[in-house]
Subunit: 217 residues, 2 copies
């Protein structure tokens, strides 16, 4: 039986659609009032684990799920040993450095050395500022990162930007893009090597659907 | 102006009540549809920062908030340099080790060495198993920790238990209590030392209210 780890939240609906097109119907997870965390597919051949974004690579890396769908941002932040299989193209957003609109900082090199940067993605932020050779103090927050510059705790933030509305609403502007992120199909490396065809045919079906969608787009 | 960091979620309502009794009315944060993260008190003498549980000690430690209300579990997990001022007695719950009801483990010493433990509180779990001299592999999850034993990824979990309903619903039983947790009033150490009376009188008002409530209880 294939187990698929799906991220709750923004990516869930599109993830379910892609698996449905490839022959696995997990639409029960989208039903309002569903409280189950482990949901069998309609055909009974597979099941979905409904977990938090950051936990998808964990369940896949430990082999409790053979496949998973998660944002590239999470993969880059957590660096778990999973195989990146297909770029699913949906859930597009980017990781960016943002500052207060009236801060006077127009690019990252304007930021003062040893300034504070608030982020949920401290690993990504650390690599970025290391490459830039700009020493900064990172403050790890778990939510509402935009409060960092507003309260004066941090000069800048490193955060995911989709529409840019949260930044605008909080008087922040983006000054640098670190990388673009989309949803990815990932797999457990050992499960892929030991697979007798079941997982590979699923991955191939999703890859084909994905090529068709990109051609249409 | 006093800034108070309040945790969103289960502790918010009681936190607002306690500050109201001590003379600071933050009831706007409880209004349905409030999207503001920084809310002034009705009198205008103070403001509340509405942040995630784990971020309260961060805002207090960095001095962006002079006071904060947060669960003892979060303080124990994150070990930020904040002053513990008052045990507010509400929000009672405890940190516990739980296993599958049919696992056969009746106490923590029954757990096999090098077994996997899933938790959101990996720091607390690490100290506990270190003291017990039981080597374990900790798996950090960000939510729905009960899936760990259900999927077979972990033999046990370390998690907060309030009513015990989540454990029961998932076929898990508690086998050990690590510590009891309640909401705490915390303060920024430097702000407390430099205070000209404003913060101390607020802390004293809350402490008195708290004593009255405990006497009644």
């Amino acid at each position: 039986m294939i187990t698929v780890a799906l991220a709750k939240g923004a990516l869930l609906k599109d993830s379910v659609t892609r698996f449905a097109k490839a022959g696995l119907d997990f639409s029960t997870v989208l039903e309002a009032g569903n409280r189950q965390l482990m949901v069998p597919s309609v055909c009974g051949r597979a099941r979905a684990l409904l977990v938090r974004n950051g936990d998808v690579p964990v369940y896949v890396a430990f082999g409790q799920a053979q496949l998973g769908v998660v944002g590239y941002d999470v993969l880059k932040e957590h660096q778990m040993p999973v195989a990146h299989l297909v770029d699913l193209s949906f859930g597009g957003c980017h990781m960016a450095v943002a500052v207060k609109a009236n801060s006077g900082y127009a690019r990252v090199t304007d930021l003062p050395p040893h300034c504070r940067i608030a982020s949920k993605f401290t690993h990504c932020a650390r690599s970025f500022f290391n490459e830039l050779d700009l020493p900064v103090e990172l403050v790890h927050l778990t939510g509402s990162v935009e409060l960092g510059p507003i309260t004066g705790m941090a000069e800048a933030i490193v955060d995911l930007v989709a529409t840019g509305r949260t930044l605008r609403d909080n008087g922040l502007v983006e000054i640098h893009e670190l990388f673009h992120s989309t949803a990815r199909l990932v797999g457990n490396p050992l499960a892929l090597r030991l697979d007798r065809g079941e997982i590979h045919s699923m991955v191939e079906a999703i890859r084909k659907q994905n090529q068709l969608i990109s051609l249409k787009g």
